[in-house]
Symmetry: C2
Subunit: 267 residues, 2 copies
Amino acid sequence: MATIVEVDDPADPRLGDYRDLRDVELRKHVEAEHGLFLAEGEKVVRRSVEAGFAPRSFLMAPRWVDGLADVLATTDAPCYVLEESLAEQVTGFHVHRGALASFARNPLPSVDDVLAGARSVLVLEDLVDHTNVGAIFRSGAAFGFDAVLLAPRCADPLYRRAIKVGMGAVFSTPWTRLPDWYDALPTLSAAGFTTVALTLADDATPIEDAVAGVDRVALVLGSEGHGLSPRWERSADRRAIIPMREGIDSLNVAAATAVACYVTSRR
Amino acid sequence: MATIVEVDDPADPRLGDYRDLRDVELRKHVEAEHGLFLAEGEKVVRRSVEAGFAPRSFLMAPRWVDGLADVLATTDAPCYVLEESLAEQVTGFHVHRGALASFARNPLPSVDDVLAGARSVLVLEDLVDHTNVGAIFRSGAAFGFDAVLLAPRCADPLYRRAIKVGMGAVFSTPWTRLPDWYDALPTLSAAGFTTVALTLADDATPIEDAVAGVDRVALVLGSEGHGLSPRWERSADRRAIIPMREGIDSLNVAAATAVACYVTSRR
């Protein structure tokens, strides 16, 4: 059973995991250095526990304690309870969903483990927006993708906002970081995947044709601003485009991924 | 030529249009009461002017003035110039893209005007998230949709964040508010559109089948949380679903719309 700790000082050092949640750069450092991630909202907190992550602590307003009683019963971690206005001083914003929890990260699996048995894989290069990363995990899960691989500099899928937007898909989908950026796609090809890069390149074929009849496929997606790096664009087996209205070549990367996942799921 | 006005007091009442931009509820009132909308970033400011909206004023840091000189040359509106740290005190956040502008809204066109000549239309019920509304406008434009109709309570597509996410698609796509919520879909049917509601209803058919061979189509989308109202779900001509992995029925509304627009564009 978690220990309920009532807190009335927002500067209490035990609340360090929850400080300034809107300061993305600060949070990246804090979370990496302490090997933690934050879950927001009863549903996401619950899914994190169910996915086997160990809570470091909880933080919530009094009215949320009962709703999470069953979750709190499963752990010895402290549960810091404080008034909503004080919680807001700690986190820097109004926590609409009431409950927050800090979890220890687990070691990432190997690429081989993540790919074992997979038939449809998403590969994300240098996406910077956590909302997009979360939305892409969610679309991948909806359309039956088995795994997600992230380039070394892709935004963190365990960032609070990514988890929230992804509706917890980051917990149900095996994923890991690619250790080697340069040869990432040739390595996937050697492992039996056809790598299909989504791009606006001149020699790109419509996505429906690019994935037709392909067994093991890896859909490769680039960053919001500049798309894929030239290296990844050139080292993919195929280049694919989503046909759009003439003169328009602009689709948000999360929207493009949803369409590409849909088409690929029907190959 | 805009009048350059250097400002050193963040409480200057002439900056009222730009106050507390992160406070969504406050902004809704301010923007409705004054009939204004805000554009953020050089590109969006430029597109707003090109789309024929009349600037009320501009607000920017000194280093952004030159880049927008051609735009400022087209108007008599004041351009308030202040240091970035002061601008941040006005707006409540760090304005990464530097330039802001306040524009007067134009009267909305009639539904008939928006539908004239249209073959593919998006109809949004009660979406609450401005990011989703912007992303949907962008996907609609990418896949050749001719118009967007909004239920009376749908979130504002001219809200700063919607414009930004939509990459200005709200300026290039004809849109308006539906005056009548209850009979909105039967009215569209009477006007010759087949209304296709995206839903998880039991009698929904796959979207590809639902739009096959349809000439004038209106794709109907519901809110993030609860989807369509029962009235809209029942009064649509057809109910369609995006086939997903078994046991998963969760796709962000913007992702679902992108897929539905893609499929519809290929009908």
